[in-house]
């Protein structure tokens, strides 16, 4: 689908004048209006739009919060309480931003596991996929630095634990950490630079998102069958079909989002973060935000500092190798009976790792974390390469249309026009 329909002709004289100087309307038309979308996409394919919405939401609420927040170790905690108590609707803007981060990760995890299930990472979408992993890493960095800004106990100790990860690097580790801190411990210089970077990174995410969408529009979207669009009958135009479906999905997601904001605004946070930062006392049980828990469990599973850090970083970087570790020619797990079982085991292992990450690091929790960590890596390094050779996939449909309508001989029993090329309507 690299050749987009370029049927766009501006209607007005001004439009033609402008288009010949900056063909942006044609770009939007070919990318978001006439762009062919597989006709069998499910609601799992609306999370890209939901994520774009969440990024915009976080940037807008964040820009407003930055107007009322003070990035100074002596004043940050007070300024957050000032936002909560004094600023008009400050509580709403802050809760939207804090819970928005969690919603962003809810959506991104669904997006990532949809990609795992339907093999969207496989050729020809490797670059698209790796750009997505880069966005995820930037999101993690942004979320981590944002959590430090209220300068509560969890902020301070989260910052201490995470920056200390770099001290595991041999020889230069301690120097790197003092450069991260701007001092001999986490302090005011650390808070200042985290604020600066927390404001910068979302715009870098926006930049990579543009590349991600660009890379998506070259091969086009994957779909539940995993087979490519072969004819116009397999596709529908992006507008109105995908546009309206995406908007509807965003609205439903907003209801879910609003429930947290208005009914459980602090459920996903930690009570300890309403205690001002105190460098002399560590909270009795220090845990990161829920979206980091599986990786935190992997960090703690390895009884060696450098080894733990390497395992945690590898747990994400190994994703980048998936297009080459997965030897199966079939994209969609719907046609891979054996892999389907391993996929759900992997999902369960990730959830259990998340739960273990929230438990204290003692007793059988540590052993369970170690077992799950071994399985996590085995999924990528053993299951994915081996299954491609031993599994016998189910027969694939001949086309997306056939998967939706069943094998048709004469078109009888099919709604009028269902077999037509709706793409040509756009």
């Amino acid at each position: 689908m690299s050749q987009h329909p370029t049927t766009y002709v501006p209607k007005s004289a001004f439009g033609r004048w402008f288009e010949s100087r900056l063909p942006i309307a044609g770009l939007i038309h070919s990318s978001f209006i006439a762009f062919p979308v597989p006709r069998n996409l499910t609601y799992f394919w609306t999370f890209g739009a939901i994520l774009v919405f969440m990024l915009v939401s976080q940037i807008v609420t964040g820009v407003f919060l930055a107007m009322y927040y003070t990035p100074n170790a002596a004043m940050a905690f007070q300024s957050v309480e000032h936002i909560m108590r004094d600023v008009n609707y400050g509580w709403l803007i802050r809760y939207l931003h804090a819970n928005g981060a969690s919603m962003f990760f809810v959506a991104v995890y669904i997006h990532i596991f949809r990609n795992f299930y339907y093999g969207s990472y496989k050729a020809p979408r490797e670059v698209l996929y790796i750009l997505g992993v880069i966005i995820f890493l930037l999101m993690m960095a942004t979320a981590f630095m944002g959590y430090v800004l209220p300068w509560g106990q969890m902020s301070f100790w989260g910052a201490t634990v995470i920056t200390n990860l770099f001290s595991a690097i041999p020889l230069v580790g301690d120097t790197i950490v003092s450069y991260l801190w701007g001092g001999y411990s986490v302090g005011n210089p650390t808070l200042n630079r985290f604020f600066s970077l927390h404001y910068l990174l979302p715009f870098m995410i926006a930049g990579v998102v543009i590349l991600h969408v660009w890379a998506l529009h070259v091969p086009g979207q994957n779909n539940p069958t995993g087979i490519p669009i072969k004819s116009g009958k397999d596709a529908v135009p992006f507008t109105p079909y995908a546009t309206i479906k995406d908007i509807f999905a965003v609205v439903v997601f907003l209801i879910f989002f609003a429930y947290w904001v208005f009914y459980l605004p602090n459920y996903l946070g930690h009570a300890d973060n309403y205690i001002p930062a105190n460098p002399a006392v560590t909270p009795s049980h220090i845990v990161p935000e829920w979206y980091f828990l599986p990786f935190y469990a992997i960090l703690r599973a390895i009884p060696d500092k450098l080894g733990g850090v390497i395992a945690m970083v590898s747990a994400i970087l190994i994703w980048c190798l998936m297009p080459w570790l997965d030897t199966s020619k079939v994209r969609s797990t719907a046609y891979r009976p054996l892999y389907k079982q391993f996929f759900w085991v992997f999902v369960a292992v990730c959830v259990v790792l998340g739960w273990l990450g929230s438990r204290p690091a003692e007793g059988w929790y540590v052993i369970a974390s170690q077992i799950c960590t071994v399985y996590y890596f085995a999924h990528f390094l053993i299951v994915l390469p081996v299954l491609g050779f031993v599994e016998r996939p189910l027969p694939l449909p001949n086309s997306i249309l056939e998967s939706v309508m069943g094998v048709q001989k004469g078109g009888a029993g099919m709604p009028a026009g269902a077999n037509a090329e709706p793409q040509s309507k756009g």
Binding site: S178, G182, G183, Y184, T282, P303, A361
Partner: protein, 182 residues
């Protein structure tokens, strides 16, 4: 085999100028990065605030651990009981992860005073005193265990709690941040 003629031009003055210009730009660019990276390091005020601090030991009872700060870093001053000292000394040093005899971790003649940095060597949490298997410290974050000499005995911490530079000004006063001059 088709005959191919490859025209390999002699390096010219212009080639030389291109490479020299590129090299100068690369060196200039790298030089410009330097001040920006250096600005991230602890600044002059932070370094100046890192002067030695005096601590009076008189009010610290046996068995008590006191927290003080030097350079923004937490330091434990532990007044060890005779049992704690004995427990720290009666250890097969070779069996430790970071082998150090207790005598190397205290000042001679001041066996009862243990002065160590108060952040776990794993990821910097503050370990809890008098807890864990050896009643030294236990780190609640990731489960590192330290003995009454501040040596790592279990968990992910790679090394013992480090000893800050300090010296006894008298039997009841230490100066943290200053090496002994003797």
């Amino acid at each position: 085999m088709a005959e191919t003629t490859t025209h390999v031009a002699e390096p010219t003055r212009r080639d030389f100028l291109y490479i020299a210009t590129g090299a100068a730009a690369a060196v200039g660019g790298a030089t410009l990065v330097w001040p920006f990276i250096q600005s991230l390091a602890p600044d002059a005020a932070t370094v100046a605030a890192g002067a030695p601090v005096e601590v009076d030991l008189t009010p610290i009872a046996a068995g008590q651990i006191v927290k003080v700060f030097w350079r923004g870093k937490l330091i434990f001053i532990r007044h060890r009981t005779p049992e704690e000292i004995k427990a720290a000394q009666d250890v097969n040093v070779a069996s430790l992860r970071d082998p150090q005899p207790d005598s190397a971790r205290v000042k001679q003649g001041h066996d009862q005073w243990l002065v160590v940095f108060g952040n776990c060597t794993h990821l910097g949490c503050v370990p809890l005193g008098q807890q864990g298997e050896y009643h030294g410290w236990f780190c609640p974050c990731h489960g590192s265990v330290f003995d009454t000499s501040g040596r790592v005995r279990g968990g992910p911490a790679p090394i013992n709690l480090p000893i800050p530079p300090y010296a006894f000004a008298s039997d009841t006063k230490v100066i943290i941040g200053q090496e002994a001059t003797a």
